[in-house]
């Protein structure tokens, strides 16, 4: 169980004007500024839950994950994970936790993965039996048994990610932080990682916090999502409920007979999709009025009315932050 109360993190930084002149000025006179990467976060996650943490770059996802993994100290607030305060970094907590960052490698680059695993076995003091059992399960499910004896630097990106997953999960962690585990992978590798995580979650029921840029990851894996914007949560709830929050909006896709002028559709708040197709979202009650208008102004070939997709909604929430 994870319980977070009033958690916040401020970073201070100094600014400098560009160029040599700016540098000289900064040598003697510096403006110190503080930026809140996280503001007053409250979060509760139960046993066996898997949540998706979504946000734009710099929204605070990674900072939150790093605080919960015990790497970064928060500026204020409390957190308790299975009774431990993460940033005290007790051995007991670290033994039950795993962190995987898609952009930072943890296995020894020049050595075969199995060598790194042996070191991890020693670090986590795993018995030979459990070690062998986990290696077998993980390498078979990830279909990577063959590649474990090749130096990691010679593996493909997808294979490397699988090795990273193995390294992180060897000690049966109860809490797992996954920061962008599918970043840079091709579609089939993404899919393999996703399938694996699904299976793993079902089998061992750990708490998993997943951040990803790919909505596909989140949609496939997480029932509950948290959307974070400028260091604050703008949504915390079921993924399926997100759609209802915007239930009043409809998305129109209109195909016209000929090309149209950009200014004309922008006046309606529309977005060009291709040469003669544009889309816009409008409130449900204005639907009749607006469609009539389009038919009078454009030579409409086709008109399609849909509910907004989850991607669209989340994107707009990440930008506007409606609550």
């Amino acid at each position: 169980m994870i319980e977070v109360n009033g958690l916040g993190k401020d970073f201070s930084y100094t600014t400098k004007e560009p160029g040599l002149k700016g540098s000289l000025k900064a040598l003697f006179f510096r403006e110190k500024k503080t930026k809140s990467a996280l503001k007053d976060i409250n979060l509760k996650i139960h046993e066996g839950e898997m949540i998706g943490l979504i946000g734009a770059n710099g929204a605070g996802k990674t900072t939150l994950v790093k605080i919960l993994a015990g790497i970064v100290h928060p500026s204020h607030g409390t957190a308790s994970i299975m009774g431990h305060t993460p940033w005290e970094r007790s051995d007991d907590y670290r033994r039950q936790m795993a962190l995987i960052m898609g952009q930072k490698a943890q296995v020894w680059w020049d050595l075969p993965a199995l060598d790194s695993f042996l070191l991890l076995k020693e670090i986590y003091q795993l018995s030979e039996e459990i070690y062998q059992q986990n290696i077998k399960y993980l390498s078979e499910t990830l279909m990577i048994s063959e590649q474990l004896k090749i130096p990691v630097r010679k593996l493909s990106l997808g294979e490397r990610m699988k090795v990273e997953l193995m390294a992180a999960l060897l000690h049966n962690p109860k809490v797992i932080f996954l920061d962008e585990p599918t970043i840079g992978l091709d579609i089939s590798a993404q899919k393999a990682v996703r399938e694996f995580l699904k299976d793993y979650q079902k089998r061992f029921k750990p708490i998993i916090i997943l951040t990803s840029h790919y909505m596909e990851d989140i949609k496939e894996l997480c029932k509950r999502i948290v959307i974070i914007k400028d260091g604050q949560f703008v949504y915390d709830g079921e993924l399926s409920q997100v759609q209802k929050m915007m239930g009043d909006e409809k998305v129109l896709t209109i195909t016209t007979e000929q090309d149209f002028k950009d200014e004309k559709i922008q006046a309606f708040g529309g977005k060009r999709k291709s040469e003669n197709v544009f889309t816009l979202s409008i409130p449900r009650e204005k639907l009749g009025e607006m469609t009539a208008k389009f038919f009078s102004e454009f030579a409409v070939l086709d008109l399609n009315i849909q509910d907004p997709s989850i991607e669209d909604i989340i994107e707009s929430m990440m930008k506007s932050g409606s609550k």
Partner: protein, 261 residues
């Protein structure tokens, strides 16, 4: 015990890595040979002009030279690679994976890379020390030799502590090297007998920048009449530096911002 086992893994990894870079392997040995040659010649040259330097005769100074060469070789083998990478790790946010493991991150980061290349040089330096000890006109007792070995190990440790204290400010300055360049500039003080420093310089090199305590004090305690005060001084300063380093490390980690990818 567990840490010893972990260290054996570091050794294994480092050796299999080093052996795959052959050219670098031989080049390092060549470089260090030149370094040893220059050091020994320098003092031989000095003794062409004076019978005593800092109160020591030539055979005594040869033991001193061998002493700091051994300390330097151990440092190069055990710590230097790790010390080289540490500021980079701190700045680039690469400490992350070391902090989440249930082992001391300080142990991991200080000893992770064993420079198998320099290991050969350690044998050369050690050989020279044996030679200097055998050529000494008076034989040494086992007790004296054991004491000297312990003092050398203390010297290595102190050398590491000073280095760390120069690197750790990187947590705040975010500069690329911390004050390590200062460390190398002043490090030369370690290669001179402590008695040649007088006045405030002597105070500095035996307290706040205790380079004289690394090799010169051990040699002094070993060769000259045993003095509890010198030994006490050595142990006290080492202990204070140890506590200081651990404290700075702890505060530094609180300040660690883990720069994001």
């Amino acid at each position: 015990m567990r840490y010893l086992k972990l260290y054996l893994y570091f050794l294994r990894f480092s050796f299999s890595k080093a052996l795959s870079f052959r050219l670098d392997f031989f080049f390092r040995i060549f470089m260090d040979l030149i370094y040893y040659f220059i050091n020994i010649s320098f003092f031989k040259l000095v003794y062409l002009h004076t019978p005593l330097l800092g109160g020591w005769t030539q055979p005594q100074v040869m033991i001193f030279v061998a002493c700091y060469l051994v300390i330097d070789a151990i440092n190069m083998t055990v710590f230097s690679s790790n010390m080289w990478w540490l500021p980079y790790f701190i700045n680039k946010g690469e400490l992350d994976y070391y902090l989440i493991r249930p082992v001391s991150p300080l142990f991991f980061l200080s000893l992770r890379e064993f420079s198998a290349n320099s290991f050969v040089n350690f044998f050369m330096a050690f050989g020279f020390l044996i030679y200097a000890l055998i050529s000494y006109p008076v034989p040494f007792s086992i007790g004296e030799l054991l004491l000297f070995s312990a003092l050398i190990i203390n010297g290595v440790f102190l050398y590491y502590l000073i280095q760390m204290l120069m690197i750790l400010p990187v947590f705040w300055t975010h500069s690329s090297r911390g004050f390590v360049d200062l460390f190398y500039a002043l490090g030369l003080a370690m290669e001179r007998p402590d008695k040649i420093f007088k006045g405030w310089l002597r105070i500095i090199f035996t307290t706040i920048l205790p380079f004289s305590l690394i090799a010169s004090f051990p040699t002094k305690i070993f060769l000259e009449d045993f003095e509890w005060s010198a030994l006490g001084h050595l142990v006290l300063v080492t202990t204070i530096f140890w506590i200081l380093m651990l404290t700075v490390w702890k505060i530094g980690l609180k300040n660690y911002s883990s720069a994001s990818s």
